[in-house]
Symmetry: C2
Subunit: 280 residues, 2 copies
């Protein structure tokens, strides 16, 4: 199958490596001529170019720019797409984009491969990045079944684990397990820094150990990532924050009232629930 | 020096092993005759007994029962203490206990060795548990300087890193970096479980990865520990929760208002601050 990949960074580049290994022909596109050169040299693409005309033979086109640019990249490539082309993307939020592009291109189906490293750019592209990792496709009710099956087969070629969900369910789930933790964790760091007493702050910094380290990790991560998920998944993130604040208030109420048995019961509940999120 | 250790579990037993290696004579006491036997067999104590009379020759007595029992254990052993004995404890909260026992026994100085494993009991006792770990002593303004120096020397014998703090500053610091994270993290698990949609819950469980795993770890820990820190450090924990909620509301406000530059700035601030808590 002829596959166009637009944006040859960590995700686009890694898709190219694995889909080529699965005997597809990869047409790469990047704004940077140097990246196009590297893509061919590294075996990410069979051919690569800065001009969208490179995509005209593609049966499937996967848009892999940063999430804020997906729509404008689609604008740019649309005139060159084969009318039968299936289009997908790799954005980490689906609600805003998937229905919109589906309206503009009925054979568009949103995708979200949940893999990554701390690195970015074509240099970070690697084989088997998606192996065993979740890959969510978000077809709509009236999506073309052939397009869905074609993308499912590509997910299988990557060795990824396929999930199907509506764009809204996808965004709700990732807001709870991925975007909410960033804010929860960042507020912890902010609170720990905000001591009115220099001695307490220094002592806190000295005594902090694995519990603080783990709970604060994602709140101390890339600020642009945090901004981006909030910006693109605002509605679901605010909904998750509501839910979170409700449960934090519940715990707080038990502590204020000294309801120790009930507090222990609640913590037993979270202890029992956590493993169900870690088994996959 | 003759050292009495009351309570021969993970902490008391490990103290015994290392202080004996440092050529002190250890007088162990436990409610359980079997534990006393094991303590002598394993080289934790030179002698051990269920009766507090075993402590009458001790220059220093370290109380190592669970935090809720420290005062009653002191009641039990006090009649047998040498009038010059220095007394300390290993409780993870100091504000409630240290000033009270100081009043009853002027040579009492609170202590908190910040080390542990997931195990408990005398079987879990191990050498070098305190090596390189923080050990906080909480002398009061009128504490006997000789008693403070004596305990400082024992902390050095353990290879631990000494910190001196008032009981209140200690409790405030540990509430921020150790007790608050438990509640913050437990509320995250509770929120993630509380989806009104079974499909979203299952998807969230399937998609959860390292970010959720780390942020939820201490909230999925031992419920008795969470109850205990809340119960004994209630005032400071509620104060830390106030601070935390304030900062979470700030982040939420920026998201609600769409102030993306300010949100990124806040997250940059937490990214910069976090390493100061991890360097010790």
């Amino acid at each position: 199958m002829n596959i166009g990949i637009v944006g040859l960074g960590l995700i686009g580049g890694s898709l190219g490596l694995d889909l080529r290994k699965a005997h597809h022909t990869i047409y790469g596109m990047s704004r940077s001529a140097r990246t196009c050169e590297l893509a061919v040299q590294r075996g990410i693409a069979d051919v690569a170019d800065c001009h969208p005309q490179i995509l005209e033979r593609a049966d499937v086109v996967i848009l892999c720019p940063p999430i804020g640019l997906i729509e404008s990249v689609f604008d740019q490539v649309q005139p060159y797409l084969s009318p039968k082309a299936i289009v997908s993307d790799v954005g980490s939020v689906k609600g805003a984009i998937a229905p919109l592009l589906h309206q503009r291109w009925p054979r568009f189906i949103g995708g979200h491969p949940m893999a990554g490293t701390a690195e970015s750019g074509i240099e970070a592209a690697q084989s088997d990045l998606f192996q065993g990792r979740p890959y969510v496709l978000t077809p709509l009710e009236d999506s073309d079944p052939v397009a869905v099956e074609t993308l499912k087969a590509l997910v299988q070629d990557l060795g990824a684990t396929l999930f199907l969900a509506s764009p809204r369910d996808h965004d709700r789930a990732v807001s709870l397990i991925s975007h909410l933790p960033i804010m929860v964790s960042a507020a912890l760091i902010a609170a720990a820094m905000d001591s009115d007493n220099q001695g307490v702050l220094q002592l806190a910094q000295s005594l902090a150990s694995s519990g603080f380290c783990d709970t604060s990790r994602v709140g101390g991560g890339n600020p642009e990532l945090g901004r981006m998920v909030a910006q693109f998944n605002r509605e679901e993130l605010l909904r998750s924050l509501d839910l979170y604040e409700h449960h934090l208030q519940q715990l707080r109420r038990l502590i204020t009232l000294g309801e120790w048995e009930n507090l222990e019961h609640s913590l037993h509940h979270t202890q029992t629930a956590r493993p169900h999120f870690l088994e996959s």
